[in-house]
Symmetry: C3
Subunit: 420 residues, 3 copies
């Protein structure tokens, strides 16, 4: 077989030269004829047809296997004929619900969205406050440290002025003060009174948060295919959206989720998670095959806890952060309420890859498959000359051995024939 | 054609054995010779050259088509010879502008960036407040619900203590109170007075926001190619940046955008959108061909509204969220100003794929194309034996039929020759 | 060589027909025999074996080169046999540390996490306040503009009521007031007193921020391979995490970073960067080869400044934004403290591609490589008929020229034989 890569160049040159020279061709007929022969003589392999069912079957069966692989695996399973694009998405979230807390530690309080959603914007990541340690009325002043091996002191000599322990709560003033009737600790300059975050409520303060609902609006784009879509599907109407709630079985396309349902689908218990906080992923999979009717491109929701719950090496388990509300007293002094907020951060993670038929991957994959077809004759030839019954006969007619040593250039085939 | 995959192994073995055995070769000359023949005899197909212009033209033309496809489509259009990488980007945004509001409902107020940009950090997503419902001086207390079919009551029997309607505004106390002179509703425990969000101004409060400008600073990286770039191009100088404003025609590389211009390029009316809010995507496309002079890698800006405006199933149209500013009165009571903020969230979405010549995709795609070249002789052979004028002649000389039945192993070619 | 793509169809048809017709085959034996011949006759190229060491060596060496390329470059270097997936990740950050400021301009103040981290949530992007311009006790009122060529006035005629200069600070009231004893400027309606942001401290206020530490918790997923991992590695225990600090040499897997270390690894000076602010990328590379023991999939940290430091065209250098804390005075008037915050925004950027053996890319790449193997005989044939010593002999036996003109259909080979 002749894979002349320079065929294109050759024939182009020929076409150009033909046009240019035109009738002048007859003059340089000899030269031209040679060129024509060079460019257009077709060299084809001589072949031997072997009417053997066995070899033929091996050949066809190997071909069949390759074609089955191409059709079955590459095309159907892997969709290797498609060009792919990655999703670009926008998410809006809106939480609804309120709660009332009335525990022994805190005064009765009503909570609405503006109180427990941080940040308020309703981005792809929102935090629902479920538990907290509140330290109200902090002012910039001095107070004794919380007792710990490194802060307990006997007299002022144990405290170094200006020293700041990274695990402490402020800058030491060099004095040793009474923390309680039993303990004396170094005095620090800090926001006082200090936060005592060991007194975290064992039952989540906003246990009612499990009944809050969240509406997730998600618009996606596959820019390469100019394909746009929302998770609120076209056939869904307003009245349905007012009362529906996501359920994998009955309402798989309702974009309103009950927080408790999200957490339990992720295999966690809401009340358990609410105490120390955590991060929960709401995964929206937009993987689509755009070759079929586009209406079939639907979001698939799944839920997974993203932080580790009870690993051996659990530093700072759960999810919490500190923030403060700043006030000014009548006399202009700044005071703040420090809140160590525990809660569940919901991360809406949108991912997906869309595929649509494209000629380049098709060609590449078909090309690769054709390469395997070109292996088929190798297999069949090997079978022919090694395993088939009449292998000597086939081999003798297929292959000619050139005997170089004899300068008379006789070929083995000829010789063989002669002796028969 | 012989596609011996084991050629490598064979020749390696041979080289090793040659080195090891060295002069000892002469001793085991016979064995060695057989090995040499096995490893280095070259088996080449016998070919027949057919001096037919027709067949030659079919062959060359088919070759030409395949080469044209490879050069034209795969290389030029699809750039299949490139390795690709996805963009990693950082965005900073800074809005400038101020406004003055003076409507009948609210007292005169001056607004600057710290007032209307939420969150203030200037991330890839920023929100410009354009309209709002303000409920000042809310305190934790009791007040009658807003009138609705489920909250209107005649006497206390209609209200259940502790009941909380998800569509209501608080937890019922079990009392029925006068909401107005005409309506009695159940009293709830909540932040009072309740927000009445139906009184949304019909004209956006901060209509002047359309003249605000935003400076977008965007740095991108293609980590695979170690390629870094900013959207503030090297040839742009400071004085230009101080006065320029993005315009597709006159200033396509100015990174300062007027909000009104962004919205109108997205096909929307700013004043219309400002009333109920919405989400607007500022898409920056960094798709680049890094094989050419890298300076040609420029950001392409486009603008698109990301939420749906007037669909049939429009729940919670526009974009809004609630947040509160917390205050403390002189006697320590917490009070808040609840703001239902309507406005436009601008999402800066950076995407792009860069391509640069790489040997692997080139090899893969050339390989696939070569496979198609190997189909060319199949086409030409088919034309040769079925369509060409002298097909019998060609076929007779190209193909030899082995007649197995005759055990004397005569071949048809031989026979043919004999009869001629 | 025969690359019959229709082999599959043919053989399928044949199998079906065989089943259907069964014993009826003997009836239509003649037709069937023809069909069998058509489907199962095996056509194989006739070959000539040339016992030439030179040609054989060229053939084997070319084969060797192709195989080396496939094994060495495609498989080992580029891992083209792998299917790839892009990382999905969640990040939590928690900064620790406090500072005490006592400069001539401001009163002494203690700073903790709730004061200097904005936003407080500890997302993948967090901002550490290092410097600021504070404008306390702003109220909605009137005050003279800051002096600049466009605001300086002589009398009221220079000021236009209602005019708002985009580079100014408010809406002009039309009056000309004394700004200082030497300058008169137009009065504006704004938050007064106006911010004077030229008085930025030359040494960063929170210089101590360089010793703050940040714990970065990062969970990643490769959805295609169902592979989950954290940057806190399984073999790391709690006590180690309490005292460790990231260091490329001694503690490369400790997820706690000292801010100064991050900045210096990015090639910057913390104190320098802290004055005007900037953006620093903490890049976590999760590129993994999942074919090997998964434990080897480790995060690689690197640090890079993402904004440009000293470019020629530096508009708004560094990183800053304005935010306000709102207070209410005892008589209900709203007042705010405006803070122009300078600082370092740390963006945790997680990227990576995982590869795992997959049959489709393997097949595609092997296919492409096989295509190159099919080029080997072309090279060897070219060497055979142009460069080898006995090229005439080889050429004569390999190639048969069909002499069409002689209608007697004698072939050149025959002729050649005859003359020998």
């Amino acid at each position: 077989m002749n894979l002349n890569k320079d065929g294109f160049v050759k024939s182009s040159l020929f076409l150009i030269s033909s046009l240019v020279r035109g009738v002048a061709m007859s003059k340089s007929a000899g030269c031209c004829k040679r060129f024509l022969h060079y460019a257009f003589d077709y060299e084809t392999p001589k072949t031997l047809v072997i009417p053997s069912l066995g070899v033929g079957f091996v050949f066809r069966f190997t071909q069949f296997l390759v074609v089955m692989y191409v059709v079955g695996y590459v095309c159907v399973v892997q969709k290797a004929y498609q060009d792919t694009d990655t999703v670009i998405s926008t998410v809006t979230t809106k939480v609804k619900g309120f709660a009332f807390t009335n525990t022994s530690d805190t005064e009765p309080r009503f909570w609405d969205v503006a109180d427990y959603i941080i940040p308020p914007q309703g981005d792809h990541s929102f935090f629902v406050l479920t538990n907290m340690v509140v330290t109200p009325k902090q002012v910039q002043s001095r107070c004794p440290e919380l007792p710990s091996p490194s802060t307990i002191c006997v007299d002022d000599c144990n405290c170094v002025e200006g020293h700041s322990d990274p695990r402490g709560n402020g800058i030491q003033t060099g004095l040793c003060e009474n923390y309680s009737t039993t303990a004396r600790t170094c005095e620090v300059l800090s926001w006082c009174p200090l936060e005592i975050d060991t007194k975290l409520p064992e039952h989540a303060l906003l246990a009612a948060a499990e009944n809050f609902t969240v509406l997730i609006k998600n618009s996606i784009t596959y820019p390469k295919f100019n394909f746009h879509r929302r998770n609120i599907l076209p056939h869904v109407n307003s009245s349905y959206l007012k009362r529906c709630e996501f359920s994998r079985l009955t309402d798989p396309h309702c974009p309103i989720f009950r927080l408790k349902h999200i957490v339990s689908e992720a295999g966690e218990d809401f009340q358990d998670m609410a105490v120390k906080g955590g991060i929960l992923g709401i995964l929206i999979d937009w993987s689509c095959d755009l070759d079929w009717w586009a209406g079939e491109c639907l979001p698939k929701y799944s839920f997974r806890r993203l932080d580790n719950k009870h690993p051996v090496n659990n530093v700072a388990p759960g999810y919490n952060f500190r923030f403060a509300k700043y006030y000014k007293t009548a006399d202009g002094e700044e005071t703040r309420t420090l809140i160590k907020a525990y809660g569940i951060r919901f991360d809406v993670i949108v991912f997906g890859t869309a595929g649509r038929f494209s000629i380049v991957p098709t060609i590449v994959n078909l090309g690769a498959a054709l390469s395997f077809l070109s292996l088929v004759p190798v297999v069949a030839d090997w079978f022919l000359v090694t395993c088939s019954r009449k292998r000597d006969l086939y081999s003798r007619h297929k292959t000619t051995h050139l005997i170089e040593d004899a300068d008379s250039a006789s070929v083995s085939m000829g010789t063989t024939y002669g002796t028969q």
